[in-house]
């Protein structure tokens, strides 16, 4: 796990941070998080999980109810936002509508009393970085959403802050532009050696862009790690369900032997699975299987027969929605080709390594319900 970052590497440290707006509900529960110098850290989580609150505390717009935030080793509790030197890109861009694009970008320089000639140079360079040289004289209202977004980016970067915060900066853009901007932002991050804390609730965005992802759930970080770890080794059913796609099935643990466990599903089907964390025999569990881990085959650690309800063609792959005996639905992702047709019965197989068993609790039940209601 990459949490072994040394003291000096951490640009930002959240130590036991808690935040409540109203005095009885916690927007952020107990946040302990280090942001390393030069890394691209994404806060990922569903709506209302406390991502913006975390960002706002870091930027200085909100004060933690408890705990401490350290910036470059110094507590920032008493530091007002305008002295933190943190660049921020807002979800609605927050460009100043009464100023031209160039004036917007020059704003952080002029409040720092940078000499006019130098400021002009830097504004030019910043606009060139986001490829908007020709738009300096326009008003923000005369730009498209993507262009406004890039102005906001240039404005947050022009004063060369060590840390840049972005709160769902691509939320308002269409899919194509969003993917394009993801790459642009990532490139800027690498070129300028920035430290970026990025907020999104789009898991694919988090996976594409980040060095590390902190998954938020109900005001807590439930897992922190590089994208591939989160994807292949989720620590909770919530992470398993939130990152990528997963088939989640409730069951009960029968036996545990070393790195393997046998699980009995509700209808009695027995599965070989890999337990995650402490799973004791007799405990209620949730089993997670990735759609791409299921093959159309007769042999494997786990084999079951299923009725193919529908086949969805998606170009590079096709997706089978299958009904299994216990009334549950399995989504299967297979390469395109004449594999299966709707209405026929197929044998599905997957290995025990790809079949994760999590101990179930109240919150997993909620996750399962969400999953099934969706």
């Amino acid at each position: 796990m990459p949490v072994q970052a040394s003291e000096t590497d951490a640009l930002v440290r959240f130590v036991g941070v808690q935040k409540s707006y109203d005095g009885h509900t916690l927007a952020v529960r107990d946040l302990n998080l280090d942001v390393n110098r030069g890394e691209f850290l994404t806060l990922l989580g569903p709506s209302g999980s406390g991502k913006t609150t975390t960002l706002n505390m870091l930027a200085g717009f909100e004060r933690p109810t408890r705990g401490e935030i350290l910036l470059a080793g110094r507590p920032v509790d008493r530091l007002p936002p305008y002295q933190r030197d943190i660049g921020m890109v807002f979800q609605n861009y927050a460009l100043f509508p009464h100023m031209s694009v160039a004036e917007n970008v020059a704003f952080p320089l002029s409040v720092r009393r940078v000499a006019r000639a130098e400021a002009e140079q830097r504004v030019k360079r910043a606009l060139a970085t986001v490829r908007l040289e020709a738009f300096g004289d326009r008003r923000p209202g005369q730009l498209s959403g993507g262009q406004q977004q890039r102005v906001a980016l240039a404005r947050a970067l022009v004063f060369e802050p060590a840390l840049v915060l972005m709160d769902e900066p691509l939320g308002a853009l269409d899919k194509k532009l969003r993917e394009h901007m993801q790459i642009e932002i990532k490139l800027l991050h690498e070129q300028l050696g920035l430290t970026v804390v990025y907020v999104t609730h789009d898991q694919s965005e988090a996976l594409t862009m980040s060095d590390r992802v902190a998954v938020f759930h109900d005001g807590e970080v439930v897992q922190l790690g590089p994208p591939d770890t989160l994807y292949s080794r989720p620590r909770t059913p919530f992470v398993a369900g939130f990152i990528g796609e997963n088939n989640l099935l409730p069951g009960r643990c029968e036996t545990v032997e070393g790195a393997g466990a046998t699980i009995r599903l509700q209808d009695g089907t027995m599965l070989h699975a890999t337990p995650v964390g402490a799973v004791a025999p007799g405990a209620r569990v949730v089993v997670a299987i990735r759609p791409e881990a299921i093959r159309l085959a007769e042999t494997g650690d786990n084999v079951c027969r299923a009725l193919v309800r529908s086949v969805i063609y998606l170009g590079d792959h096709q997706r089978l929605i299958c009904d299994v005996a216990n009334g549950a639905t399995l989504t299967v992702k297979v390469p395109p080709g004449p594999g299966a047709t709707a209405g026929e019965t197929q044998a599905l197989a997957w290995s025990a390594v790809d079949c994760l068993a999590f101990a179930a609790d109240a919150s997993t039940d909620a996750t399962l319900n969400e999953e099934w209601n969706a």
Binding site: A59, G60, F61, P80, P81, Y82, Q83, R84, D85, I86, G87, M88, F90, N92, A94, L95, F96, P97, H98, F107, P108, V111, R112, R131, L132, A134, F135, L143, S144, G146, Q147, R155, A156, F159, L177, H180, I183, E184, L187, Q191
Partner: protein, 418 residues
Amino acid sequence: MGRSVALPGAASVAPVTDPTLAAAVHRAARGQRLTALLLVGPLLLLLLFSFCFPIASLLGRAIYDPTMADSLPRTAAALQAAPDGVPPDPVFAALAEDLLAAKQDNSLYAVAKTLNSLLPAARSHVLRAGRFLQPGQPATRESMTGADPFWGEPDTWFAIRHGVQRFTTTYLLAAIDLRWLPDGGIGQVPEGEAIYRAVFVRTFLVAAAVTIATLILGFPLAWMLANLPNRLSGRLIMLVLLPFWTSILVRTAAWTVLLQKYGLLNDLLLWLHVSSDRFDLMYTRTGMIIAMTHIQLPFTLLPIYSAMRTLQPSQMRAAYSLGARPFTAFRRVYLPQVMPGVAAGALLTFILCLGYFITPALVGGPADQLISNFISNYINVELNWQMAAALSFILLALTLALYGLFTKLLGVDRLKLV
């Protein structure tokens, strides 16, 4: 960055040089204009008949007065040929005939009144002439001046000459303390009679004072309201709007109770030991400005409030995060964006104050009467609609000029009323 992804926006700056396209755009815009016209059509008609026509016809009275021309047609004709000054006998004969005819059809009083507005105290002389002139006895200069020396004065005939013109600028000039001189030039009215310029200046000064007072009180209040949680600010806005639900007359009457020498305000000041003496607030400029400020506060406040309310909180946060200190952020980000609301509120209050009438009448003293009080006096007491129209005309012209100047300085599209 060396990537080959085409950026959107780069293509959109290419100019279009297709004339048929311009024509199509024009056609489409015309269709939209027509629809817009249809939508506002009924309102336009209503405005035309209930607003534009009445106002135009009232203002028309400032320059068009046919009373004397209609009642004294023979005199008017005879005067054409007469030299300046007191005219020869035929004009007197024509005048006598006209006055007798006017007496016959009961229009003599109207003539007397009209002449009176051109020449103070002329009324009684005209009515007296109606009594001493006898039908069938041709009047001469001698007979008439003998009966009443008034008819031998050059001023009298100067006024009659002006009075028989249907179109006249006399009233408009009078409204700005000017008059026609006998030699055909324009001059100041005599010292003691000049009042209107001073009244116009007073009106504008009071309006400015009230506007500034409402801004000083309203801006911080609007800021507070705009930054409160929705539910609370909604209730407080109700309090601000409450005065709107009582008539301006009632509110002004309430102020007369408060401002009296032995009224609540003086009691309070004494009780708080702010002063040991009672202030004269009733019938003073100060009291009047206090009452007007109270009445106008919502008009100034609401546009400011709405401008502040629509400003997104992230604007100020962005300014802070970019390194602006609170005052800088306020000056460079907040103020410019709420300025249209401030300007709209100030303009609204200023223009409404120019027309104030009840409050100066009830709370102000004799030296605090504004132009509307004079207009109302001409309409209700003196029955001199010409003078009322002339004063209204000047007021309207000044107001429009001011509005024009204001919007030119600020840009009318930037005014944000609500």
